[in-house]
Assembly symmetry: D2
Homo-oligomer: 363 residues x 4
């Protein structure tokens, strides 16, 4: 069935995985192992997704908690919104750390994944440069450390393409050597939606699979592997050009189908819900029912999913590989996002840093 | 007429403008003021477009000569192909300079347009950093200058967003002050095709309109303005996300139309010519005839062009502006392209530099 | 006379020039055309030097006002001290602008001299990147400009070594084109004291001679040349290695002379005034009297000044050129100093920016 | 004893340590456990120092082999000299690897020590970015690896000040994890001579003590610690300002002493051997004999070594710490040196790379 193929669309975001799932499986309900809760304060929309074993299997993500923050602070290049976003990151991070059993004295290792020479992949390394690092002070000059600070170290292990070493092996060596009480991993993600680029932050307690290390338990950076809490912070910074187009076409077809059916109802505006990248309360109308779909697809001689993909691929990937793209303003976006996340982490890890000051500890 | 709207699609490449034109106007022929000639040597396809007054008006570009080089050297990150491409740039540049009446003693000013802090827009500034600059030697230590070199200076005037000054005013001030015998301007362009990004170099003798300076003769950097030859070198480094999608949908619809008509002819492969980004000999099959189009459009209740655009815009631009995207590997691509162009310019300007050495003068 | 040679020691700071002069000419007094006034608030020492025509000639600097701020804020990497320093820069700049007849509506051109690819010379270009630029808004969208802001543009003309064009010619072209009401020029300077590196800011109303453009009135960027006020901000970022050593030896010899004479007075500490880089009230003791000097020099067989220099040169400059050095931490120091100066300029130019906010306009 | 203090002068170069030793101990001879051999080809002087246990103890360095290359290729910014230097690095490296028992199939780990954000300390990280990394290809696509290449990985562990983790611990974790057959470590060094900065490359088989990790066997990266050959490549990039001055004064005093004694012999030129930074055949004349010294020191009332140092410190270090300085051109120098070393390593590790091509594998 073509639905299976849909799951293969690359997304590193639980929120997207869940949305795709819901879109494709009308019979599912939120209660089948997937809990979704959301709230919106000021300009930031926060969504909590909790997956139990059954929900995780259906969604294709690991069981655990996923907090997704959505904000236009970076894209609008609005300093005040960014400061506010950093505070929300602090708060959510503090909460997930507490829920994971982390206490104020626990020693933290921050791991910034990615390649510092490839701007859209440099988020992790940049965050490690900007966070407040204290573990050497605890080690060498404990008398200089003030109340309210914890021991934090930060590493940027590079990527296999430039080190020749699988990233998870590097991280494994460092964790084994330094024995932190918990780990925070930052990574740049691929999204299937151009709208999420630099506009979404996902915080989760499920750990991370860096790079290509799939199907190997030891390659995972997670609580299961290291017996310490592993919190991951992910931000989509690139989007697959085939996916953008494929999604758009799906929605266009869907729209055409509805239009076709409803063309006698004049004056109806284009539904804002057509935007596939906005989470929405799904209604029957948004999802072409079987009859509509059949009609549309019928008209096109039941063009196969595979053929459709093939067509787009031919158009977009003459070089034989999927092109990942990023907004033109990538330099500023990545730098600002790193600042927001580093400030958020600083505020969450050190109770001694007051809310307003977390920013000045990152540069 | 909806076709007019097509012309408004943003492209800085004469080749694309001409293709769009041909696609939209089946009645045009190459002889109507537009001469196109192409050859392919090794991995580089070179297209010569010459526009006289009438052709220029129809295409919507300035009259003059446009040389377009197409190569995958940068994207494949293949050093040897890049060295070869640099040599071809040198040759073409030498030719267009000679045709423009430039002699070996003429003093050159190189102008690198763009913002060196925005990687996909940093091509011009990077080229000025990499070219061989000699005019101060001619001025201060003429005895040190060897035979076979000319006086070259290079400036990077910045962009209005960071200087507050219209770029053309800056360039005007510098040209008035330094009185060069000819000018070479380098700029990063927008393409309407993701396939052209960092894969196309356009060399032209028509000058350039930096930034927003439209409709003001003095704002143009051209022979008309300064009475000296102005050669422009442009490379598409960004693509408008709406345009990618819009193009793809057009082709998908076209394909659907043909499929629908031809679905009884089993086994027919998808035409490689479906790729809208490859120049091609246009055949009837590629262009849905009126009947096909009517059928397809008919099926969709004659969805209007404007409505189609609106649909895509809703999907892609929730922030209210067109998103320009660039490949993830932007840092390497731009740096390599700057190296190719700087080497090409060095080889063209200084007969004293031997073919194999032009590279080592740029870094 | 050896004094003449002393004047040839390179310094771009009026304060240093005046100190050298005083040291070498015991008969001079502050009233001979040189007014010096100083105050110290918190960690910042401010010295005002005013030179009239006669004083200027004696000191070897242009007549005018020189304000020198000395602070360890950058070297100590202390963010709070840096914010404070930026406020003092704002205040002094506002004062010198007012004294120069600049009003709130006057349009400003900021010129950042230097080479952005050579870190210790990148101060000027970095400041232009960090200041608030508004002139394009005044031009294109005047309705969006709030009360309390003025029109500001900012350019970074590069250096002759990379552009091939004399910097003053570039600036001339830009000023002629944009016709600002006043100009602020920022430049990295050479100091003769390692202690001043990134620890001193000189603000003056005498304009500037960029690069090698000496002896040519038009090459100067000053009120005389352009009939508009030209304020220069200079920061020493490099020091000549020969000069450090030469100065140290002079002081060591001086100390040896005194020591020799005073060795019977036990318990006397080394005079703090031995530091040649601290301004001081000069006392007889600091300056070896003729007898002392004769004794010391006598011991060395009246070693000639030229021979002494030659000796040091042999030790330090086997490559035949003077080596300029900069502290190892140059990247951070230059970036922080650029931030301080940009914040200071923002606060001085726009009354609408409140004191505490000037920082957030520069990044 | 004052001589002991001399030994404490910081130098990371065996050549300098040996020179200081010889200067201070006239009774030593080359045969006391220290073998020195030198040759000069074209512009490169190569010195081989071999220390056995007794020599090592006297010099204060580890026993082993030290190869020192001296060249002005970087400082003169001469591309051809740099290519030549890279070939010599390759040759010497190949030899020391063979002597250490490394075979063509052995897997190499390259460790670039230093802080990539502090330019003069960024040499190691830059080299790791520029070397040819292949181990992931051997692991994942062994069929793509050509004859004549070996498995190489490269890491840049950062510095304790930014990671919070002792560098040697990081390296330990990575070596334990990846189990290389041999290790090459690159580091930026401090020199006591400004003339060596970016003009000297030291290759040794004695391993390295990164950062402050002193007196702890496990903190050392060496054959003793890991049972595999560890080759270190060190380049002096910074110099201690106090040391420059102190050395100069010593030589000036020495010169004054000799001058004083020999002032009746007119016409004698200043000895070129006065340059303390050139290795030289030591003659009696260069070293003031006891009588001379006594005379000079006598004149100064037997100024104590400690007092002399104190004097210089007062002059140079008002901030209470020794200032390390680097040439103004640090950005270019470090980048070019990294290129030379990376090319040298590539050529040495992969027999498949021909001499002329080693450069093009590093960028």
């Amino acid at each position: 069935m073509s639905r299976d193929e849909h799951y293969s669309v690359r997304t590193d975001l639980a929120l997207e995985a869940q949305e795709i799932h819901v879109q494709n499986d009308a019979s599912s309900s939120d209660t089948d192992g997937v809990q979704v809760m959301e709230k919106e304060i000021h300009d930031i929309k926060t969504t909590y997704v909790t997956l139990d074993e059954s929900g995780a299997e259906r969604i294709g993500k690991k069981p655990g908690h996923y907090i997704t923050l959505e904000s236009q602070a970076i894209r609008k290049q609005d300093t005040k919104l960014q400061m506010n976003l950093a505070k929300v990151v602090s708060g959510q991070l503090r909460k997930i750390l507490t829920d994971s059993g982390v206490t104020d004295q626990d020693r933290c290792l921050i791991v910034g994944l990615g390649n510092h020479l490839v701007t859209p992949d440099a988020l992790g390394p940049l965050v490690t440069e900007k966070v407040l690092v204290t573990s050497h002070l605890f080690e060498l000059q404990p008398e200089t450390v003030q109340e309210g600070y914890r021991s934090v170290s930060a590493v940027s292990p590079g990527v296999m393409g430039t080190t020749g070493i699988e990233t998870s092996d590097m991280v494994h060596g460092i964790i084994e050597e330094t024995k932190p009480d918990f780990v925070i991993v930052i990574d740049a993600l691929a999204s299937r939606s151009i709208n999420r680029i630099n506009a979404t932050i996902q915080i989760s307690d499920t750990g991370i699979h860096p790079g290509s290390g799939v199907g190997n338990k030891r390659k995972e950076i997670s609580k299961e592997t290291y017996q310490v809490p592993v919190i991951s912070i992910g931000v989509p910074t690139v989007v697959d050009a085939v996916t953008i187009t494929s999604d758009t076409i799906d929605y266009v077809l869907k729209h055409f189908g509805r239009e076709w059916k409803e063309k006698d109802r004049p004056g109806q505006a284009l539904s804002p819900a057509l935007n596939p990248f906005e989470r929405k309360t799904l209604t029957e109308e948004d999802h072409p029912n079987e009859e509509q779909s059949k009609a549309v697809l019928g008209m096109f001689g039941q063009l196969e999913e595979a053929e459709k993909k093939q067509l787009i691929k031919e158009v977009l990937t003459p070089l034989g590989h999927n092109l990942m793209v990023t907004p033109k303003e990538v330099d500023t976006f990545i730098n600002d996002m790193a600042h927001v996340i580093a400030s958020g982490i600083n505020g969450a890890l050190h109770p001694g840093i007051e809310d307003g000051e977390a920013q000045s500890y990152s540069r």
